[in-house]
Subunit: 589 residues, 2 copies
């Protein structure tokens, strides 16, 4: 192959592909240059004047290296890796560091393998991090457990790039042997460990970093960023759907610039489709005043250096031909995207086929119930007239705990005609029959039940409703469709199915069921992005039409109510959990 490279580089033979008449960014000196870019096979072989078997005229366009997303959970898009790629590659992203934490919590190593194999169908390089914290906490039942031994056994897999965000920082700094074993295994394998260290500083940060953690995508303050960079970390500038810290770019200086990289972490399909991926981050960063050359270097060369992705992130001979031709360094509209030497997207549309999707049986049908549930399963018997109810604080992830007055009838709390709703977490992995029950105040929903099989991080079924029967039906329906989102509506009328947007509706007549199937692990859909999104929107609008307050994301706000590492009150399949006291708590006051 080198012979072909050399001959084309010297202009003796035609290159396979030439981007003609470009302005291109030399990330090594931070300057814009002009010339043709010659590509042979998957590599750039030279810049200058070149002829190609295939030529793309880039007059008026600026060519920059393909973007590298330093940290992303594909699952958050609810799309398969193939469909995810179809949205982000045309935006200019050619490499992602993906942590399949969610699907691995459901499916174990089969989840990792699925993401790895499915990614091979598309021109997006997916560097897969082995999730380090499965489950995220021991306070709920997950589909899988990866302990230290499991990490040791899998970290050397060819398809594993590194160890995913180490959220369990207490495990590291308090020296839990099994937790330390995970970090040791990554080092023995010579693999990178991603971090996740919100607000950790000083000696605790030293302790965390003494385990060899490389990155952080959680920091937001100037002090935090400066401390983390000065202690050797790379800091992500994050452009997620809910979690953002683009403001971190304010703290970039000439001296520390090389330690900043971009990521999206969690980004929904709607945002990917309507706003974009890292292109949108770049657009906003530049609009906010960041030098566009600096912004691009963070998204390319810096990430390549952080993750030891040699020969990537620059436009130079022997570098991987991952290239984006954009209109300018203000709008970052990608006209052409080249991945590994092939033109893979044009004018925002993928040129690759995503209709054939890898879909192994072991990531399907992941919703398991011990037996069909009935209304009785959602009876909530309280001891008195005061109980703890969960609320959601502004921001959407932190919850509150409010003491509320409750009435009961026939041994079951009454939520009708109150601003309370029943909340339930139904274990769906191990046939334990666990159902955690609680109360939620102020969601606004009325007339049935909402349910979803995305519930961070173990992804049991979360249900909310004012009707035991509806809640049971919601759970049973989610099992039937293999996971997803559901609305069970109690209706006065008996039939009239005309306006149903559901994939499926069911009798008996007093309940209508509307749902969206997320067949892959109950988290992602095997369908195409476009139709999925259309149906998803319709379902979400239906939830709002049933009273969900616009302060909340109709379904996704539910998905964080189980996450027993974020304050204050959470509900898991094992019961109500007080995060501040780090222990289970009684609903009765």
């Amino acid at each position: 192959m080198l012979e072909k490279y050399v001959k084309a580089a010297r202009g003796l033979e035609k290159a396979d592909l030439v981007l003609k008449n470009t302005t291109y960014l030399d990330v090594f000196t931070g300057t814009l240059k002009t010339g043709d870019i010659a590509v042979v096979g998957e590599k750039i072989v030279g810049t200058g004047k070149y002829q190609g078997k295939e030529e793309i005229d880039c007059s008026g366009l600026t060519v920059i290296p393909g973007y590298i997303d330093g940290h992303v959970h594909i699952e958050s898009s609810q799309l398969s890796p193939e469909e995810f790629a179809s949205l982000i590659v045309p935006r200019g992203t050619t490499t992602i560091i993906a942590d399949p934490h969610e699907i691995t919590n459901v499916c174990g190593m089969a989840g990792c393998e699925y993401i790895a194999k499915a990614s091979q169908n598309v021109p997006l390089e997916v560097k897969l991090q082995l999730p380090s914290c499965v489950p995220a906490t021991p306070f709920e039942t997950s589909g899988a457990v990866l302990n230290g031994k499991d990490i040791e056994n899998n970290i050397n897999n060819d398809y594993i790039f590194g160890l995913g965000e180490f959220m369990n920082y207490p495990g590291l700094i308090y020296c839990d042997p099994d937790t330390l074993k995970k970090a040791e295994a990554a080092h023995s394998a010579g693999k990178v460990i991603d971090g996740h260290a919100p607000a950790i500083s000083g000696y605790d940060l030293n302790g965390y970093l003494a385990c060899g953690v490389t990155t952080d995508h959680e920091c937001v303050t100037k002090e935090e960023i400066e401390e983390k960079i000065s202690k050797g970390m790379y800091v992500h500038i994050r452009h997620g759907s809910s979690t953002q810290n683009l403001g971190n770019a304010k703290y970039i200086t000439d001296k520390n610039m090389r330690r900043f990289i971009l990521c999206t972490d969690d980004r929904h399909a709607a945002d990917l489709k309507e706003k974009g991926h890292l292109d949108d981050a770049l657009r906003r960063l530049v609009a906010n005043g960041l030098n566009p050359v600096t912004a691009v270097i963070c998204a390319t060369l810096n990430a390549a250096e952080c993750y030891n992705l040699k020969w990537r992130g620059g436009i130079a001979p022997f570098y991987l031909a991952d290239l984006v031709a954009v209109d300018n360094l203000k709008n970052f509209n990608a006209k052409y995207v080249v991945k590994g030497g092939k033109l893979v997207a044009k004018n925002g549309k993928p040129l690759f086929d995503t209709s054939k999707r890898y879909l192994p049986a072991n990531v399907l049908n992941t919703v398991h119930l011990k037996r069909p549930l009935t209304a009785k399963d959602f009876v909530l018997t309280l001891k008195g007239t005061k109980a703890k109810a969960m609320t959601i604080e502004p921001g959407g992830v932190v919850t509150g705990c409010e003491i509320v007055e409750v009435k009961s009838e026939n041994g079951d709390v009454t939520v009708k005609d109150t601003d309370l709703l029943k909340l339930a977490v139904v274990e769906r992995h191990k046939l334990t029959g666990n159902i955690g029950k609680g109360l939620f105040k102020g969601y606004g929903f009325k007339g049935g039940a909402l349910g979803i099989t995305i519930a961070h991080d173990s992804h049991n079924i979360i249900l909310m409703g004012d009707d035991n029967e509806a809640m049971a039906k919601a759970a049973n329906h989610l099992k039937e469709i293999g996971g997803g989102m559901v609305i069970v509506e109690r209706t006065p009328c008996h039939s009239e199915n005309s306006s149903c947007h559901s994939e499926r509706s069911e009798e008996p007549p007093q309940y209508k069921i509307y749902s969206l199937t997320l067949d892959i692990g109950g988290l992602m859909s095997s369908r195409d992005a476009e139709s999925l999104q259309r149906d998803s929107k319709a379902l979400i609008e239906r939830a709002y039409s049933m009273g969900v307050k616009r302060d909340y994301e109709a379904f996704m706000s539910l998905a964080f109510l189980s996450l027993a590492v974020i304050p204050k009150l959470k509900l898991t399949d094992a019961g109500l959990f007080d995060v501040e006291k780090f222990t289970f708590t009684d609903i009765n006051v």
Copy 2:
């Protein structure tokens, strides 16, 4: 081990070693900070306030990461790796990228193995590059040949870090299959390829770089440096004994800074001892106006990034505890040097023992002659009265060709009472009996012969003299001592050995022999640096006292007369070579 790191990092247990009260350089943000630096095992675990089992008070000192020499031939010091370390580690260098090109030309892979094993005796990390160009040219007889297959067979050896400077750029850009195979082998092994690309630019540079070459230590002009960096190369700032390009630092900007690293390439023991190693480079760079923080970053973090030396080149948790405490960032006098967590030098003196040296038989006795040589072997019969004579141009490496008038007597050219000397290259590896012969004009030496077994790059015996008998004795003596440098002096007197500085002197009385043994491959000495240098100086002074002009380095100028890749006229064991025409040439005009 992580548990120990974490507990010390958090201040719960004493660290093994603490540098107290330091000002230290945070290379990640380019700022000076204050605090203690805690070390456990070979790692830094934290900065802040710490207590240690061992503590070193660094009040008033500035602690910076240990220096990384990006490209060096240990052989140029004429010292064993152990003794080399004893000179450079106390200066603050803790890691070197070493290319054992010279000894491998003599001893083949045994030379590489020797350097690798000997280096294990000392607290200097030697990252060994497999020499890519053995021999450097096909126009002389070398001790070893490493062809493409040999590179394939050895590049994956554990002790091999990468592929050494690829001097044979024509082999790459003209696509010689065996040469390309070497580069392919390095890439298959995932190893770095060092470059050597003097004045190569444009499409030829693209061709060279399309083979995946990473660095260049030969560039000197602004244009060259800018082109090379913009095409993805790292550029060395070189501080060798004869070859220097510290001026490259002028072209460092905030934008391209991360692509500059430091190296010494070839540095003599005397310079190492009297002036220093990278500390001397830093001192001069700063004296010349380079920002000291930038200078240190080039010598540390940048080199670590260039060579993928993860967790090196910075002062932060989990980074290798390679540290230098200097008086200030102007003088760079190293007070303490810590390598891998151990204090290894203090006040410029090594704290490690170098008296036990690894000395395998297969790098000794490397001077082989088919038979003892006699005066007849140096008879030079010319066809007429005009001949080509070699000269040395200012600078010491490029040679000239001058047509000179010659007289002959008994079929042998007469050099007595002229400014000509006979030059001979005696093959010493393969018992070929080859002797290349020529003339040299203007060296000034009179009254015998000079000889040396360092003759780039194949290291045959180079002799210069005005006396056939003395030249024969010089060659025979070099064989006897196993290589080194020799002076054979024709004396009027017969005995009086009193003032001999030689290791050994010989009768018959009309010649005195003075020599210095370089027993390791005929290139390096197994002795201690100090006594070697004393004797070396004495021998060199004797050569000057016999008329060698002070324009030349008495012996080392001879060492470049065989190097058939540098213009214009060279002499190898196979004959006189015209580098510009790239072919052998007749001495007769």
